[in-house]
Structure formats: structure tokens, C-alpha cells
Amino acid sequence: MTAYQVSFYLISACLLGTALLAVTTRNLFRAAIWLLFSLVGVAALYFWMQVEFIAAVQIVVYVGGIVVLILFSVFLTQQTGQQLPRATRTRRISSLLAALAGLVLCWLLIRRSGLTATGRPFHWDMHRIGSHMLGTGDQGYALPFEVVSILLLAALVGCIAIALKSPSAQDNNQNPEDPA
């Protein structure tokens, strides 16, 4: 077993272990921190696959953006030190059974599919990735790129519109019984 293989299993074990902790720990703040480690593990997996650009995007957007956003919302909505209520035993066992059944089914499908790596080299430097991403010819992704930029703009405006404290909402908060 080479160091390359050992590092894959090490990264995978860290990634799955921290993901499992993120969905089972009852402290919301700790769950967010475990999620952060899990996302760093995914980025490490991308580095292991030598797709450095995706790994960098993963770290910048997920670890630097989404986890920070989640941490802020935890601070805004939770009392500190409060534990989440434990799910009932029936729900935990049935969810575990459902997840395990799906996992086994998918693993059997993967085993039967017989997908094997082609072994052809994968060499894409940043310059070529960028020219394909903004290209309009074959394998050009300029149109989806622009559509995503419109989507991000719409999402930003939508966030501001949703989270803005409107005067009517304040009135509703003051008189919750008022039907008007």
C-alpha cells in the first residue's frame, strides 16, 4: 500500500467521521464546527485528486462563506449552551435503517456497474479551465456562467427583501392577536 492510497483512506475516514459527528452532535455550534472539518476534508479529497481549482473554490466558498453564514445564524437564533432535543428512538432507528438500506443498495449498484478508470492523464491548468469557462465555442460555458451570475444577484436581492424588518412585520409582532 503506497502513501497515495493511505492518504485517500485517511482523508475519507476523517471526512466521514466528522460528517457523522456533524449530524449527530446535539450542540448546534459544535455541529457547525464539525461540518467545517468535513468540508475541509472534501477539499482535501479534491487536492488528492489533483483538481486544485475545485479544491480552492471549495475552501473559499464553503469553508469561508457558507460555514461562516451558518455560524452567524446559529449565534442569532440559539441561546448559548442550549442542547438540541434528542430525536425519539423510533425515529433514530428508522432513519438509520433507511440510510443503511440506501447505502447498501447504492454500493451494490456501484459494484455491478463495473466503472473503471480509463487511466488517461488529466492535465488542465488554470489558464485552459478559465478559457473554457468563458468560452462560447465547443465546451464553452459562458452562458451558464452568466445565468449563475444573474441567479446570485437575484438571491442577494431576495435575501435582503426577506430578512429586512418591514414596518408591517413590526406591527404584527406588537399585536399578534390583531387579525388585520
Binding site: L16, V42, I162
Partner: protein, 102 residues
């Protein structure tokens, strides 16, 4: 050389960890975290297929990039909704939010 099926197994396990969290948790922020785990498992699949099955093309990488961008937009909108819900209902438990219009 790691067989492709092991990478797919890791992403499948990550997906079903996310599904388990989605089924057991009742807090909106933890549900959002489970969705992020599921999206990440899909991204691993896209990158692995691109690298090992079609190394002369780049579509998997671009799909991953767009999924990451859409996930960021989705997380921002979801957190705006969560904060608004907390402001109006005082709780972000899915069992407590029964009415769509307040």
C-alpha cells in the same frame, strides 16, 4: 491506484450521512447542514467521473462549480428565511412552524 468504486463509496456514504441527518434533525439550521453534505457528495461524484472517466473534457468540473455557486445562493436565502422565521415565531424547529402565513 485507488479504484473508482472506492471514491464512489465515500461519496455515497457522505450522501446517506446527510440523509440520516435530514431524517433525524428537527432544527432548520441542522437540516441546512445536512443538505450541504448531500450537495458535497454529489460534487465528489462529478469530479471523480470527470477525472477518471472523461479526462479530456471539463464538464464535470464546471457542473461542480455551478453546484457550489447555487449552494451558496441557496444557503444565503435559507438563512434569511430562518432568521425571519425566528423573528416571527421565536423558534426554528420545523415542528413549531405550522402556518405559512403569519
Amino acid at each position: 491506484m485507488i479504484p473508482l468504486s472506492h471514491i464512489l463509496a465515500v461519496s455515497t456514504a457522505l450522501f446517506f450521512i446527510g440523509v440520516y441527518g435530514l431524517l433525524t434533525r428537527r432544527n432548520l439550521i441542522t437540516l441546512l447542514m445536512s443538505v450541504e453534505l448531500i450537495l458535497n457528495s454529489v460534487n465528489i461524484n462529478f469530479v471523480a467521473f470527470n477525472k477518471y472517466l472523461f479526462p479530456e473534457r471539463l464538464d464535470g468540473l464546471f457542473f461542480t462549480l455551478f453546484i457550489i455557486a447555487i449552494a451558496a445562493a441557496e444557503a444565503a436565502v435559507a438563512i434569511a428565511i430562518v432568521i425571519n422565521l425566528y423573528r416571527s415565531h421565536g423558534s426554528i424547529d420545523v415542528e413549531d412552524s405550522r402556518d405559512l402565513k403569519y
